[in-house]
């Protein structure tokens, strides 16, 4: 697919949207900066190096850690279900719900479930899945996908939210954010108390403990995983880390990079169903380990580092492209620089060929990435792959012809001089009317010199001769 140029232009021209994106990302940038500085976190760079090393080690030995995770989840009374696709994950949940007679489930925020259109798949079979994170709930009612990995409703104002609540829930038109939040709390509280299945994502899977870790600020993930009788966690296979003690590295980075919090409000470390002596918690626990294309990303030793991502969203906040075009103009649920490197790898480089090129390669993303993914380097690699595929498809023939022509001209000085003087004569008008119009519209072109170098040199030599 081609870049959605019309939509991008609309986003760029919408002052309200631009202000919303700019303020939100600016705030996230500032909050992060305040908690990773040398004074507050002198070992920040060490943590990044450690996180990168742990992720590298785990991904290089992924099968080993997945099997270790699996046997430890089972040891704690849980179940592990490997799912090749989103459909397999949805089918498992639908079957379980049918067996247990469940018609409604509550869900906490999970990008992995967004990725596989989990809710839509369930609703097709009349199983209601209620998003309970405030932002995700608003988006579910508005039938939109997340605008940002950690701040899903970043593009909406309180007035938009008021309209959504009125239209979808028949609520009074309320524009005070505290009251909107309280209203959503009331609606969702009932859902939590009624639901028999709670679905969560997972930020980390701990191989040595058979546990999952979920971080959040609202408490909806705690409710989703603690109130219903059944807890189902859906996570990509790349989320595994070897040891619980590695959390000292990852938790110190995740909250800081995402929202500027040393720790998010709730960090839940969950393993299996409730134990015999515990008073509450679920009776059944299922961990759905999702591939959905991830194994494809492992093939290339360099590109497999894309799987280190812990979904903090820092690269989005710092990206000059994301901050201008916003989240919905990326072709997939993962937007920003991380989206630009994983989308082509999941969907194939021929699918959204423009995406790896939608970057100025400024490097801000790599500088803030807590696990040190070399995003610009991977973008260049993907550009190469796109270009290679296009070359094989015959694209770029004109470009190659142009360069061959240039090579010929440049090796024939008389013709070169003639064309150069013609070029500087026509230069002021050609880009404004010719085939270069679009290219030139985004660039400030240098003015041609009054005199070519050849002319300058000739006059200099002549002057020397004259003076000697």
């Amino acid at each position: 697919m081609k870049a959605p140029e019309t939509e991008i232009q609309q986003a760029v021209d919408d002052p309200r949207l631009q202000l919303a994106i700019y303020t939100a990302t600016r705030r996230l940038i500032d909050h992060r900066a305040g908690v990773v500085s040398d004074e507050v976190l002198p070992h920040y760079q060490d943590l990044r190096n450690e996180a990168n090393a742990i992720k590298k080690h785990t991904i290089e030995n992924l099968d080993y850690y997945l099997e270790q995770l699996e046997s430890n989840v089972i040891a704690h009374g849980g179940n592990v279900v490997f799912c090749r696709t989103g459909q397999e994950a949805a089918d498992f949940v639908l079957d379980l719900a049918k067996q247990r007679g469940v018609h409604m489930l509550v869900k906490s925020k999970s990008m992995t479930s967004e990725e596989i259109h989990f809710n839509e798949r369930l609703e097709k079979h009349h199983l209601e899945a209620v998003e309970t994170d405030l932002g995700e709930y608003i988006l579910q009612l508005a039938h939109q996908r997340p605008y940002h990995i950690v701040a899903p409703a970043l593009h909406l104002t309180r007035y938009d939210v008021a309209d959504v609540f009125t239209k979808e829930l028949g609520a009074e038109n309320e524009v005070v954010i505290e009251k909107q939040t309280k209203f959503a709390r009331g609606v969702l509280r009932q859902k939590f108390l009624q639901a028999d299945i709670g679905v969560s994502g997972a930020n980390f899977l701990i191989a040595d403990s058979g546990a999952i870790v979920v971080v959040e600020n609202e408490g909806n993930a705690r409710l989703s995983t603690s109130a219903p009788k059944i807890h189902i966690a859906i996570a990509g296979i790349e989320k595994v880390i070897p040891r619980a003690q590695d959390l000292a590295v990852f938790l110190n980075l995740l909250g800081r990079s995402a929202t500027g919090q040393p720790l998010t409000v709730y960090t839940s470390f969950l393993s299996g169903p409730r134990r015999a002596t515990e008073i509450d918690g679920p009776d059944e626990f299922y961990l759905l380990l999702l591939d959905n294309g991830r194994t494809k990303l492992l093939e290339d030793p360099e590109k497999r580092q894309s799987l280190y991502c812990i979904r903090c969203g820092a690269c989005l906040n710092h990206c000059p492209v994301y901050r201008k075009i916003g989240g919905h103009n990326y072709p997939w649920v993962y937007s920003g620089p991380i989206g630009a490197i994983i989308t082509p790898q999941f969907h194939g480089v021929t699918e959204d060929t423009w995406l790896p090129f939608a970057s100025s390669l400024c490097g801000a993303c790599a500088e803030v990435c807590p696990v040190k993914i070399e995003i610009p380097k991977l973008l260049i690699k993907l550009r190469e792959e796109v270009t290679e595929v296009q070359r094989r498809q015959g694209a770029g023939d004109l470009e190659r012809f142009a360069f061959r022509l240039f090579a010929w001209i440049a090796t024939h000085p008389k013709i070169y001089l003639l064309l150069a003087s013609l070029g500087s004569l026509f230069f002021p008008i050609v880009p404004k009317i010719g085939p270069l119009k679009k290219w030139a519209s985004q660039r400030s072109l240098p003015e041609p010199a009054n005199q070519s170098f050849h002319q300058y040199w000739a006059s200099r030599v002549a002057a020397r001769r004259g003076s000697s």
């Binding site: 090393a53 409710l223 995983t225 603690s226 003690q245």
Partner: protein
């Protein structure tokens, strides 16, 4: 072929690994766990915790002994209904004997209904982290998950000896929390959201008000 076999097979093919092969460490060694525990004087933890906790929007009390707990929070509890966990420390502090406090729940559904109706949930805390103002709660027969979650306010009462420096120290004491409990939760401040216009609102799904009572002498 099952999904499990296919996924593990695809992984091994891409990584050029054999089934059952132990982790290779040459190209990508696993670093030793890096736990950084600051060498702060333990006597300062209570004050540090209190400062961090109040910065998050919590209210902090520090009392001398168990007998001083009820007088310190009497005002909070007046005219309110509360559910208390089964923690022996709360009994020692006289919390469970108070008329407005419902306690001694052993049935999940009864506990859930009581927590959903209560104004305040009262728990102890298994640990607390000074560096971040965090409660650490391990689910057990003493501490249910929902007491610190469903009511709009949460009070945690715990002896000073449960204070640790930070997350790293917690993980050095509990290298594998799952061996003890199905749920360990770190609570750092009141429930909050900033999902609408980045405006901070407290108490979206969990308690919007939280209180910590540190008891100096156990």
């Amino acid at each position: 072929m099952t999904a499990r076999e296919q996924i593990l097979g695809d992984i091994r093919r891409s990584l050029k690994r054999a089934a059952g092969e132990p982790p290779l460490v040459e190209a990508a060694p696993l670093p030793a766990p890096a736990l950084r525990v600051p060498l702060t004087d333990r006597n300062l933890y209570a004050d540090l915790f209190g400062k961090k906790f109040e910065n998050l929007g919590g209210k902090f009390f520090r009392v001398r002994d168990a007998a001083a707990v009820v007088p310190a929070i009497a005002e909070l509890l007046s005219q309110k209904s509360a559910v208390a966990s089964n923690s022996p420390f709360l009994r020692k502090c006289g919390i469970t004997g108070l008329p407005q406090v419902h306690a001694a729940f052993t049935d999940r559904d009864e506990l859930k209904a009581a927590c959903a109706a209560a104004d305040i949930g009262i728990t102890s805390a298994d640990y607390a982290l000074a560096a971040t103002g965090t409660f650490v709660m391990l689910s057990s027969h003493n501490e249910a998950r929902l007491v610190s979650l469903l009511p709009p306010a949460h009070i945690a009462i715990f002896p000073r000896s449960r204070l640790l420096a930070n997350l790293d120290e917690l993980l050095s004491i509990l290298p594998r929390p799952a061996d003890q409990t199905s749920s360990m939760v770190l609570i750092t401040g009141p429930s909050r959201t900033a999902d609408i216009e980045q405006i901070l609102v407290r108490g979206v799904h969990g308690p919007g008000e939280i209180y910590a009572v540190i008891v100096d002498e156990e």
